[in-house]
């Protein structure tokens, strides 16, 4: 698809889509994973993860800049041939398929365990995919607007967590680096999975109106993600005792159960329903990217058909097979490494390849 003005996205939309893909279902278990790796020092790994992501963002932007307006897949095709380009598109599609499937499966499992244990998974999948299909069909601009809408209607969510500060035990955080620096470094691994999503820049960059601002935009979206994660992790660590943080699968939801209002007894119910909006920001852009990449592979003129096939396969597939929590954990574990290679290793290789290519083929300069 060619970049048209009709489908371009603004700076804010770009920031919010990237942040949306990053802050996904992973946020629910992040405090536990950090605690498992480094105890109450786990939150110290978040700033380190932030720096790592920042470096990776700049590499991706540098790669995209050297493509000068074309999509990355076109560039790779021009550089290394059509089939390698297609293989690259396929890899990207497979990666985002994983990300999307993981997001959907986790969201459904969470809804099932907390809200509706007796409802079939494929029913929930069907209900989630109706709106997702409509939005993903609209392309980047509609997704961008949806991201803005979700941000506006869900920006009050973190403030409710402040109610738990009444029971805060700040001393739980002390002392810093209690077991030394190594566990903290080890915990950085746990921050990879929750910050995945930067690869979406490969696809979305050409749609960005003001391309010079891509780097600051990524800085801001990484900043937002890290701030949200820091906030939520620290809230969990000062509320739960150090050994307890590892006990809850999804501490972010469990902690909500302890908030009491006079007018509502189980506050986690509206919250989880609301979280679905936030989580939808991982699978909707991913759905678009998957179907877009597939349309490139099969040389279709729009992403409509792949998107329809994707939705139908998902629903029918869920009817026959739905991962359990343990299997979903395995997907997440796999995604950590797959994501690491797709978002950290691959861009670096690409950057080197493109730089070398540009230097030795000046006539065909991109």
């Amino acid at each position: 698809m060619i970049n048209t003005d009709k489908n371009s996205i603004t700076y804010t939309q770009f920031v919010l889509i990237i942040t949306g893909i990053q802050i996904s279902v992973a946020v629910l278990s992040l405090p536990r994973k950090l605690a498992e790796a480094a105890g109450s020092d786990g939150w110290l790994a978040l700033p380190l993860g932030f720096i790592l992501n920042l470096v990776c963002s700049y590499i991706i932007v540098a790669v995209m800049r050297s493509c000068s307006g074309r999509t990355l897949i076109d560039t790779v095709s021009a550089m290394m041939g059509k089939w390698i380009g297609k293989a690259f598109a396929l890899a990207l599609a497979f990666y985002f398929l994983n990300l999307m499937y993981d997001g959907l499966v986790r969201a459904i499992l969470i809804v099932k365990i907390w809200l509706m244990p007796n409802t079939q998974a494929y029913v929930l999948m069907l209900l989630l995919l109706f709106p997702a299909y409509k939005i993903a069909l609209g392309g980047p601009r509609i997704i961008g607007r949806y991201a803005e809408l979700v941000t506006v209607i869900s920006c009050w969510l973190p403030f409710v967590y402040l109610f738990t500060l009444k029971y805060a035990h700040w001393l739980n955080l002390l002392p810093f680096f209690k077991e030394g620096f190594l566990p903290v470094l080890y915990a950085v691994k746990s921050t990879i999975y929750p910050t995945l999503g930067l690869a979406a820049v490969f696809i979305l960059y050409p749609y960005l109106k003001n391309k010079e601002k891509a780097a600051p935009a990524l800085f801001i979206s990484n900043m937002i993600t890290t701030t949200v994660y820091l906030f939520i992790t620290i809230i969990c660590f000062i509320y739960y005792s150090p050994h307890e943080s590892k006990f809850y699968n999804d501490p972010i939801i469990s902690i909500l159960k302890t908030i009491e209002f006079r007018f509502i007894e189980r506050i986690e119910i509206p919250f989880i329903s609301f979280y679905l909006f936030v989580f939808s920001l991982v699978w909707i852009p991913s759905m678009y990217i998957v179907s877009y990449c597939m349309s490139l592979v099969f040389e279709l003129d729009s992403h409509r058909t792949p998107l329809r096939v994707l939705c139908i396969v998902l629903i029918v597939g869920t009817f026959f097979y739905m991962p359990t929590f343990n299997q979903s954990d395995k997907i997440q574990h796999f995604l950590t490494w797959f994501g690491f290679s797709m978002e950290y290793v691959l861009p670096s290789i690409l950057l080197i390849a493109i730089t070398i290519y540009n230097r030795y083929r000046p006539r065909n300069a991109l």
């Binding site: 409802t119 209900l127 109706f130 739980n172 002392p175 050994h243 307890e244 006990f247 007894e265």
Partner: protein
């Protein structure tokens, strides 16, 4: 063609949503029985029993609550037994209080029995944990005609007394934290049935495995709250001033005051193989009652010193008892972990032992801020 498909597609969507809405999880209110209190206790033969009381919504029934009880292996295992005693299906989504009998607390490691409360995501975990000095059965079947439903009165009792620091409104979640935190031992509210009346005793202190160790009365609980930095302004303490005359049957040497904001600072140190805690309590109080005549404007320094030392003595007495029972409801272990991590780590699994060996110094600095509207 694209234009035509739109109304059709929307129709499918609307149909789908209508058919799928509410899904498989609906439960009519008529079919639900929602107990507001859950109790667990042991009988004479050391058998585990559950108790529950659910409100009855009907004009024609005089008694406003229905009690469910039975012998069980565990709480969820007894679900069928619970259901069999009510018209609807028993839902654990609305527990206000969770009663635990003292008999059950004679044993260690009963806490995992409450697992279902945390594992079934639909259960509330803000139910207040209350220890019953006596049998849970007696309390549950009390049903005094002049009082609201038992769960309501207990919850109200615990919640309001907690604002006065006279007890603890320990939720199931908070109890879980206290059990999981190695630097603190659990503390919960305690009630007793006295002459067919429910009475709040104060607080019950458990050891790290949940066995009942000792009880504190209301005033002692306030002092423990002060040590825990949880005391809100408004608590009330009373002392007999030793050098004042007492005449007749009246406690004319009594003095009461209302606490203001309390500043408790706890310093942690480690020396000679033991922990050392220096606790310094500073507060400004307002006198609310002194039955003996005294000129506050002149004698307040002396009186301040007297009250301070009385308070200090009582706190030291409590700490002595805590050390004897090897428990740490104050949460000194949390301080030890934060400031003496290396040493704490070695003893965290037998923290009770370490606290009984530790040295705890208390100093109270009390200022009389107001003497009330009369001289």
């Amino acid at each position: 063609m694209k234009q035509q498909s739109h109304p059709f597609a929307s129709l499918i969507v609307i149909m789908g949503c209508l058919i799928l809405s509410a899904c498989g999880d609906q439960l009519s209110l008529e079919n639900a029985s929602t107990p507001l209190a859950l109790g667990i206790d042991l009988d004479q033969d050391e058998k585990f029993h559950f108790y529950a009381t659910a409100p009855v919504y009907s004009k024609n029934i005089k008694k406003k609550s229905q009690e469910i009880t039975g012998e069980a292996e565990s709480l969820r295992q007894s679900k069928a037994l619970q259901d069999s005693q009510t018209a609807g299906s028993v839902q654990g989504r609305n527990y206000q209080v969770l009663l635990i009998g003292r008999h059950l607390l004679q044993y260690n490691d009963w806490f995992p029995m409450l697992d279902v409360i945390f594992r079934d995501a639909r259960n509330t975990i803000t139910d207040r944990i209350i220890v019953v000095d006596g049998s849970v059965k007696e309390l549950l079947y009390l049903n005094p005609p002049d009082q609201p439903l038992l769960p309501i009165i207990l919850r109200g009792m615990v919640d309001t007394k907690t604002t006065k620091s006279e007890t603890y409104s320990t939720t199931a979640q908070e109890l879980h934290r206290q059990f999981m935190d190695k630097g603190v031992t659990p503390y919960v509210a305690e009630v007793k049935v006295v002459n067919k009346q429910i009475q709040l005793k104060g607080s019950a202190l458990l050891n790290e495995r949940g066995k009942y160790m000792m009880s504190l009365n209301a005033q002692e609980t306030i002092l423990l709250n002060i040590l825990q930095k949880q005391a809100d302004p408004g608590f009330s303490l009373s002392y007999l001033i030793p050098d004042k005359p007492q005449t007749g049957p009246f406690a004319t040497n009594m003095l009461s005051f209302t606490g203001g904001k309390v500043k408790t600072s706890i310093k942690t140190a480690y020396a000679n193989q033991k922990f050392k805690f220096d606790i310094h309590i500073k507060t400004t109080v307002g006198l609310s009652e002194h039955i003996f005549p005294i000129d506050i404007t002149k004698d307040s320094p002396k009186l301040q010193k007297q009250i301070s030392s009385l308070m200090q003595e009582q706190i030291e007495g409590i700490i002595e008892k805590l050390k004897k029972h090897k428990i740490d409801p104050i949460g000194l272990g949390v301080y030890a972990r934060a400031y003496q991590y290396e040493h704490f780590k070695q003893v965290e699994d037998e923290w009770g032992e370490a606290i009984s060996r530790s040295e705890i110094n208390v100093k109270v600095d009390l200022t009389i801020g107001a003497m009330g509207p009369v001289k």
